[in-house]
Symmetry: C2
């Protein structure tokens, strides 16, 4: 991993930012993110898949390997659930020094209405052996990363894979998966960061030894130092609140311009560890905080909507901030918490707002 | 307009790149760009629109002003047509010095299957006066740009607005317009850059004097110098060919890795001025060029598919390039042609490819 002490962004980072896209933050107004606004992180290229020829293999340490067509998967019991998904690197570009990778600010999130068939009954049907430890999920996407040519593969503990809410998803927002979200089939693991939710699935392999592939052992680990820290795995989403920036934007600076008078700030909050139990807003850069009003989430794995009434907006310059706390006691730090890969950087969002006296 | 001599990208440019997204170039394999992969440039914020309350006003210098609901527009004659659309700023980030704005590399393009009702009969029905010069199209999006608070408004010569292929579009790829593409209604002006295709339309105003709004008179002009050049309007798309980068990518550098053996390179080419009549490919950085094979476009306003057979790929490092020529004689320059706003920067695409000896 390389790092930059500069505020400015390299050409390599720009090339990534031009193809991987965030969710414009005004889309926090939607409970379900409209298709095309959900964030995307594509490690390699989006494969073009002929779904008629495509098959899912389920093999490895099982009694009865399975080979399944898309029609066979769609004929099985279907579950539809809203799931909030975030890139593990969301917030990375706010670090200093900054790890050189996809330079996310805050936009790498979205909530899809996903439809698929539960994985657990398929594992049951295949007859997972008692020695099973991990399950490897292999995508059709292939590339070079850290000098290693590889398929995109992630391992997951067999007990996590057996959770009843884990789906093999073939639809998003009532339509077949778009190519960029994993057509024809992807893994859906509610509560976890996106790297675990393998797209373009072609193979599920049950292992009776720990998975040691690149994406688990080299990438996606929390490390304090680049060289001598083995680190710990990146798993569930850290606690975070984000607001739709109030008022109207300046095209270039994105600074917000707001009218005098009352203003309702809206946003969402989520955590992969526990339900959100409190959201607070500050309009003075974090010196004073007030509780926002929480609404019900549209599902147990979806972000929780919140609103905050800024009752009397007066002329001036403001820094509006928000932060969440979950039922496990997780909170957001004021300043980014550094790690080598730039994962789970959930420092408080800060939005610069100008209220002009004549802007009523 | 500010400029940068640095290769690196400022934080303001990154904030724009994080919300406006390009089409990953592997999506050049599709004739019709899947929803969510089409490029997006949002000047201000995406408005949330209640389509039941929404109305389109058609007023100004007309005999019978119209007020139309979405249902009324959808009850009119419908046309579906594939249209290639590109951002006028596509390629801007390749300039030096670089105009500070959305830092597009090459990805700001897409082809949608758009459905809508022709504008010309509506103008006829309203009774456009004989003195009409321009038509102003106003969106629901509002922001600050160049220090001026404004709705997004573009003017268009009345004769262009009357062209039979100009649509008021309410569907993309067989679905209602996604919010980010202008729900519930947008202008569709085949052949022109995206800035003219006003999203979230709320008003069409016929003018009997020239339109002098910001987006036509200040922005979107070809100028050689920032201060004393009034410039000329940005209108139709310049001639361009792009390829889906061959082989597989390195995650970070996007350098391509290719196998020894035959390789078919695929891409698309388009011009807003005339049909594409030739595409050429070079694998040696532009010293030698060979003709690609052209296929038929899926419609008169859609990009033209092309393929190039690289018959015997040998180990080595390559720079693969492509360039198009249209029937009006327009060609692409080898190096970017500078202008103040960074518009229509259509220099040839260059893709770095490595073929390893053991990579067969």
């Amino acid at each position: 991993m390389a790092f930059s002490d500069e505020q400015s962004i390299s050409r390599e980072e720009l090339a990534l930012a031009a193809r991987n896209h965030g969710m414009p933050l005004e889309a926090l107004r939607y409970d379900i993110t409209p298709t095309g606004l959900h964030y995307l992180l594509i490690h390699y290229d989006i494969p073009v898949v002929d779904s008629a020829a495509w098959r899912l293999e389920l093999d490895g340490s099982v009694e009865r390997p399975l080979l399944l067509s898309l029609d066979e998967l769609m004929a099985r019991p279907a579950v539809t659930q809203p799931v909030t998904m975030e890139c593990a690197g969301n917030g990375r570009a706010r670090l200093s020094p900054r790890p050189i990778s996809q330079p996310w600010l805050l936009e790498a999130v979205g909530t899809g209405q996903w439809t698929g068939t539960p994985l657990a009954p398929l594992l049951e049907e295949a007859g997972v052996g008692g020695d099973a430890i991990d399950v490897a999920f292999t995508g059709l996407d292939r590339g070079v990363e850290g000098g290693v040519e590889q398929d995109y593969v992630r391992g997951l503990a067999v007990d996590e894979a057996r959770r009843p809410d884990v789906l093999l998803a073939y639809a998003l927002n009532g339509q077949p998966l778009p190519p960029q979200h994993g057509y024809p089939l992807r893994l859906l693991l509610p509560g976890w960061y996106g790297m675990a939710q393998v797209k373009w699935l072609r193979r599920i392999t049950v292992l009776d030894e720990p998975f040691t592939g690149y994406q688990n052992v080299k990438a996606y680990r929390y490390r304090r130092t680049p060289d001598d820290d083995e680190g710990t795995p990146v798993t569930r989403m850290a606690c975070r609140a984000l607001m739709a920036p109030p008022g109207i934007p300046d095209f270039l600076s994105r600074r917000r311009h707001l009218n005098v008078g009352p203003c309702t700030i809206v946003g969402k909050a989520w955590s992969g560890w526990a339900p959100i139990e409190r959201v607070e807003v500050s309009v003075d850069g974090g010196r004073n905080w007030q509780a926002a009003d929480l609404d019900q989430a549209v599902g147990p794995a979806a972000w929780r909507p919140w609103t905050y009434s800024w009752s009397s907006v007066e002329p001036g310059d403001y820094e509006v901030c928000c932060r969440a706390r979950d039922a496990a006691g997780n909170v957001q730090p004021d300043a980014p918490d550094w790690n080598v890969g730039g994962y789970a950087v959930n420092a408080v969002q800060r939005v610069a707002v100008t209220v002009a006296a004549d802007h009523s």
